[in-house]
């Protein structure tokens, strides 16, 4: 088992492209995306039942090595500022296979 920092980002679906681009720039190639997350935050309740999909959030999970999490945080900060949303970082053990 290897120690990692687990990132969990919840943000409007529209931000996905930009976040994926920033992952690419940082050579982060492993991440998961859950579509169809609804939620509530500074912008009120996002029902997700819009015809235009604009009120849908996504949840992105990714990991970094310990020590490298700060770079990623700085990359994400301005994106989250523009689009809204949250990012949580936890310690986790990674099952190497």
């Amino acid at each position: 088992m290897q120690k990692v920092k687990r990132f969990e980002i919840i943000t409007p679906a529209a931000a996905l492209k930009e976040i994926m681009r920033s992952f690419r720039e940082r050579n982060i190639t492993g991440y998961s995306v859950i579509q169809d997350v609804t939620g509530s935050g500074d912008r009120g309740w996002q029902s997700g039942d819009e015809l235009s999909d604009i009120s849908k959030n996504i949840l992105i999970i990714t990991t970094t090595e310990p020590g490298k999490e700060h770079e990623l945080e700085e990359t994400l900060r301005p994106i989250l500022k523009r689009y809204g949303g949250v990012c949580m970082v936890t310690d986790a053990l990674w099952l190497k296979h």
């Binding site: 409007p12 529209a14 029902s47 039942d49 819009e50 015809l51 604009i54 009120s55 689009y83």
Partner: protein, 321 residues
């Protein structure tokens, strides 16, 4: 105003299903039409109406009148935001004003389709080619709305203009509508024979289901919202009426038939809640959809479908005698 028109409109099955949706929200029912079904309905409606318009165009050819209609469609959609933005920005923030202006400059396909269904019910003829105007009016307002907001701010950020135009011109609903129109023109009578049952037999039924969903969505928006201010409601009721006027003017200028003049006016009076928000979410992510989508979807759309359509038809009849 003609009571017969009002009744015809209200007792039309699609409009009744819209009320059913609103009623369901009002009594707290758990009725819902989960995604992607509403998307499917909208995809079908755009394809059907585009294709039908295209096959008609393949028969009538491209007339001078059509060209003029398209020119004015483009112009109006472009100009509406230019006039709306300065007024709106006294009451709303920069981004919100731009998003509202773009929504109202653009069009509502479903309002248009409901209008078509009213004409069918009243057996008033109309030209299929007006669908081309629907397609043309969707995008320009998006561009001019954003340009307006950028002129008034030094803050850059957001998409570069080129990407923005692409987003506006090639968004999904514009593409399906325009694509089906062209495919209808290209395949002509043989295509018509192939697809006629699909395009015709399901049309009213799918429209009913879609309006049922619209009723659900718009009513729950009104119920849930705590951002609905009086200003917002007022604008959402006044803008369509104001925009109908140039619509009527152009119709009169181009000497359109009753049906065509009515549809053109409906295009001007409608507000977009599908294509425009999709573009705004990328171009002006800080605009609050709780404001501009609520206005277009929860207030202007029901207003147009319930009261606007008979009103515009009445005015058109006055004008075309």
């Amino acid at each position: 105003m003609d009571a017969g028109i009002i009744a015809s409109n209200l007792l039309n099955a699609p409009v009744l299903f819209f009320f059913l949706g609103m009623f369901a929200v009002w009594v707290g029912s758990d009725l819902s039409i989960p995604q992607p079904l509403p998307k499917f309905f909208s995809l079908y409606l755009l394809m059907a109406i585009g294709f039908k318009g295209g096959t008609e165009l393949s028969k009538t050819g491209i007339s001078d009148q059509l060209v003029w209609v398209l020119v004015f469609s483009l112009l109006l959609s472009f100009l509406f935001p230019v006039f709306l933005y300065p007024v709106l920005s006294r009451f709303f923030g920069r981004s919100d004003s731009a998003a509202i202006a773009a929504s109202y400059g653009s069009v509502s396909a479903v309002t248009f389709i409901t209008a078509v269904s009213l004409l069918q019910k009243l057996q008033i003829p109309y030209a299929g080619y007006l669908v081309a105007a629907l397609a043309v009016m969707e995008s320009p307002a998006i561009i001019s709305g954003i340009v307006m907001s950028r002129k008034t701010s030094t803050n850059s950020g957001g998409l570069p203009l080129k990407e923005l135009i692409r987003e506006a011109v090639f968004n999904g609903s514009v593409l399906v509508l325009t694509g089906s129109l062209i495919i209808g023109m290209v395949t002509g009578t043989s295509g018509e024979a192939d697809l006629a049952p699909f395009v015709q037999y399901l049309f009213k039924g799918i429209l009913c289901l879609f309006l049922l969903d619209m009723g659900l969505v718009s009513a729950s928006r009104i119920k849930a919202s705590n951002t609905i201010s009086l200003t917002l409601v007022m604008f959402a009721l006044v803008i369509p009426l104001v925009q109908a006027i140039p619509g009527l003017g152009v119709a009169w200028l181009l000497n359109l038939s009753t049906g065509d003049a009515f549809l053109f006016t409906v295009l001007c009076a409608g507000a977009s809640y599908i294509a425009v928000p999709a573009a705004m979410r990328l171009a002006l992510p800080d605009a609050n959809p709780g404001i501009y989508v609520t206005m277009a979807l929860a207030i202007t759309f029901p207003f147009n479908v319930i009261a606007g359509l008979p009103l515009y038809l009445y005015l058109v009849k006055l004008l075309t005698g």
